[in-house]
């Protein structure tokens, strides 16, 4: 089980995977919007998205868990 965490503070702009989906290392899980930039948050390893902890529009702080990945 790996927690995917926000690399910086910002708002959740787009969620690009759904729960149950299989993802590969480096594949984007969500895209944050911060400093007017799109900030992709990728999976750190291959796995299945067990749970998404955020919804589009949510504010997240650096280090907040965005999703849980089951490898």
């Amino acid at each position: 089980m790996t927690e995917i965490k926000a690399s910086m503070a910002g708002s959740v702009w787009k969620i690009v995977v759904s729960e149950g989906e299989t993802v590969e290392e480096d594949q984007d899980i969500v895209i944050l919007e911060s400093m007017k930039m799109e900030i992709p948050i990728p999976a750190e390893s291959d796995g299945t998205v067990k749970e998404l902890k955020v919804a589009e529009g949510d504010f997240v702080n650096e280090g907040d868990t965005i999703a849980i990945l089951e490898s």
Partner: protein, 509 residues
């Protein structure tokens, strides 16, 4: 026994290091014997070894647990000290310390690089009066390192622990290569942490290689094996001269790799969409010449050595793919150290800008982002090596300044046609200037108004307008960027300036 036989017997005994069980233990952990490490490190083994017989009257402490001497790397003589962890866990006794001090003094006299192959439990407490507090005690090792810093390249290969005071050896090196799983640095061990402050923590978590190379930034390069650490170091040193008086050797002129996509194809039209700056770097440097430093630490900024037409160059590049390429306290520190490193050893600098600015918000203000940013600006500004900045896409606010913008005397500030230089991006600017006006408008009229104002703003910061005002020195076709840079570095090679006249500046640290 003849004199000769005695010498041979003693030599063989010392050469074999500590007891077999310690050799075995090391082998189980994937650790090589110190002499094997040195054999791999040098072109043709160690040429000179001093104080081989140190502490030989003891019998149980061959070479007093450290090998010191000189050998060649890429044809260049380098000084080395290498702990032998089969001898009392590589701990430092009186003679160990004296040997390290002497080889450092040799490196200073000869003005050649100094390498530290560290694998040591720290001070030998039983010898503390002789090795710790005095004029030629362990403190002198760090004093020497500080004096050597910027005079000759200093690299630490961390193969095992570097404990307590010993942890300052890596701290004062230009670059620290750490072997995952075995290398560690800490002032107090987990056992001590539990006893003294009540914290329960594992060694890996508190002072492991991965942590130091990705979180604390005390480590620079994380490798899986000792051979990899040695290969990296040999390669890394090939970009450097022997000392601050010389310039790096020029390698054979390399060709750039060919790619299907051009630089122009890589850069998204939307300034806010990410792309991978590594892809651009690959298209301007000699094929396979990138030697990244601090890859895992603050990856929103890329720092690494490369070659262009065979010549060493230090690259500092924003990485829009990570954290939007925004500068944080850690990335500012990372840049400051790397700029100092290149400037010290006459390696020209290349800044590749695609930066929305420094991070804002409570967290970074409390972390002192202004102080850390000031460090980056100061070292960048002080660097007197040939310095070229390229505005790849956006360069907003203090981001333009930190990345060697026009005010900081780069030898040239170039722009790609996609460049956009401004105090802030159009969205933020329109919001800042027209916030009240937007609030007054009926909601349905707002998007059209914002769009109109953003377009006006875009025209105002058009790159040709800035070229017309001579803010940038040239607007360059991305496909010709490599050639332009090679030509400029060739011309700027004779640059010889002093930053200013004084003892030293007083900057935030």
């Amino acid at each position: 026994m003849t004199y000769k036989d005695e010498l041979q017997k003693r030599t063989e005994e010392i050469k074999s290091g500590g007891k077999d069980k310690y050799h075995q233990k090391n082998e189980e952990k994937g650790k090589m014997f110190v002499r094997k490490r040195l054999e791999l490190l040098f072109d043709e083994g160690m040429a000179i070894e001093d104080a081989f017989f140190a502490n030989c009257m003891d019998g149980s402490l061959p070479s007093d647990g450290v090998v010191t001497g000189i050998g060649r790397i890429n044809g260049q003589d380098v000084c080395v000290m290498a702990n032998d962890s089969t001898v009392k866990a590589g701990s430092w006794g009186k003679r160990t310390v004296e040997k390290i001090i002497r080889i450092q003094e040799t490196a200073a006299k000869l003005e050649i690089p100094m390498l530290y192959l560290v694998d040591s439990a720290g001070a030998r407490i039983t010898d503390q009066v002789e090795m710790f507090p005095g004029r030629r005690g362990a403190g002198r090792i760090f004093q020497n390192q500080i004096k050597l810093s910027g005079r000759v390249p200093q690299v630490c290969l961390l193969f095992g622990p570097s404990a307590a005071g010993g942890a300052y050896i890596p701290a004062f090196c230009d670059t620290v290569v750490m072997v995952e799983g075995n290398a560690s640095m800490y002032l107090g061990s987990p056992r001590m942490a539990e006893k003294v402050i009540g914290e329960q923590v594992s060694l890996e978590e508190m002072g492991g290689a991965k942590m130091h190379c990705s979180v604390s930034g005390v480590g620079d390069v994380l490798v899986k094996t000792e051979s990899e650490a040695i290969d990296y170091t040999r390669r890394y040193l090939s970009y450097f001269p022997a000392n601050f008086r010389s310039k790096p050797d020029t390698a054979e002129a390399g060709e750039v790799k060919s790619f299907e996509k051009s630089i122009a194809d890589l850069i998204p039209e939307n300034q806010n969409a990410p792309f991978n700056m590594h892809d651009l770097i690959k298209r301007i440097i000699d094929a396979d010449s990138f030697c990244e430093v601090k890859k895992k630490f603050a990856p929103e900024l890329i720092t690494g050595l490369a070659r262009m037409n065979g010549k060493s160059v230090g690259i500092i590049a924003n990485q829009p793919r990570m954290k939007g390429g925004v500068l944080f306290p850690d990335s500012a520190d990372k840049a400051a150290k790397f700029i100092q490193l290149c400037d010290a050893f006459n390696i020209p600098l290349l800044f590749l800008m695609d930066i929305p600015g420094f991070m804002i918000g409570t967290k970074v203000e409390r972390a002192g982002i202004i102080r850390h940013g000031a460090k980056m600006l100061a070292t960048m500004s002080e660097a007197t090596v040939p310095k070229v900045s390229v505005v790849v896409r956006k360069a907003y606010g203090a981001g333009l300044y930190a990345m060697a913008g026009p005010a900081f005397e780069p030898d040239a500030c170039l722009a790609l046609p996609t460049a956009q230089i401004a105090v802030m991006g159009p969205e933020a600017a329109v919001n800042a200037v027209y916030a009240n006006k937007i609030a007054e408008l009926p909601e349905e009229e707002r998007p059209a108004f914002i769009k109109e104002k953003q377009e006006e703003y875009q025209d105002n910061i058009d790159i040709y307008r800035l070229a017309s005002e001579m803010v940038v020195d040239a607007v360059v076709d991305p496909d010709k960027l490599r050639d332009e840079l090679i030509e400029r570095y060739r011309v700027y090679d004779s640059k010889n300036v002093t930053f200013t006249d004084r003892k030293h500046g007083v900057y935030p640290v």
